[in-house]
């Protein structure tokens, strides 16, 4: 399952709901991404999204992970809009029988989200605003999954 949220997200509550929903799985891996304040330089992130393409891309990433790894379920929730420093931007989880599949699925979904999802981050730094692009390292991370795709 996947969704885009313009409201604050609560990773603990999401993990709780996901865990209840997938009863029977022995392993649940999760990842939470939070807005880094960069030692106080960043006060807020604004996440732009496309009203249909962003949700579709995230759903496709979740579905690809579900097919690619031996997971019982996966979950992606991505914030859009204004997110204050310290607040969560993204929550990703996977449930599986053996832990390796859950770890790999979460790792994979995060790499894909960084490079393949039409989402755009703008940091507020002091009085200015800076648009972020996926770094070279993000593309290298993404490429790790291509050899066996």
């Amino acid at each position: 399952m996947s969704m885009i949220s313009s409201e604050p997200i609560n990773p603990a509550a999401l993990l709780d709901a996901f865990t209840r929903a997938v009863q029977g799985a022995g392993a649940i891996a999760s990842f939470t991404g939070l807005v880094r304040d960069d030692d106080g330089a960043v006060s807020e992130l604004w996440l732009d999204h496309h009203p249909t393409l962003s949700g579709e891309a995230i759903a496709e990433i979740a579905e690809d992970a579900r097919r690619r790894f031996e997971v019982a379920a996966v979950h992606i929730v991505h914030r859009v809009g204004a997110v204050a420093a310290g607040e969560p931007i993204v929550f990703v989880a996977a449930a599986s029988h053996h832990r390796r599949a859950a770890f790999d699925a979460v790792d994979y979904m995060m790499d894909r989200l960084k490079t393949d999802a039409p989402l755009w981050k703008r940091e507020r730094r002091g009085d200015g605003a800076v648009w972020i692009e996926a770094r070279e390292g993000d593309h290298a991370d993404r490429a790790r999954w291509e050899t066996t795709e």
Binding site: G33, L53, V90
Partner: protein, 78 residues
């Protein structure tokens, strides 16, 4: 025809969407990009992708009957 702009293009254009009567000789997505590029040069960047009515284009695609042309710069999700 409604060109829409996301990420840094939204700020560069100064709006998330504009309404334009596209001239009849602008037949495909890349011609549209070149035509809008006269006013908004940021869309000329080859890394900016174009989606026509929610479908990403990889090469010039006809724009006849298209309601929205979305200009999508390199992303930064996650």
């Amino acid at each position: 025809m409604r060109p829409t702009f996301f990420g840094r293009l939204r700020d560069a254009v100064g709006a998330g969407a504009i309404d334009r009567a596209v001239p009849a000789n602008i037949a495909d997505s890349e011609a549209l990009r070149a035509w809008l590029g006269a006013d908004f040069p940021d869309v000329l960047d080859a890394k900016v992708r174009i989606a026509l009515d929610d479908v990403l284009t990889t090469r010039p695609a006809p724009i006849a009957g298209v309601a929205e042309a979305a200009f999508l710069p390199p992303v930064s999700g996650g």
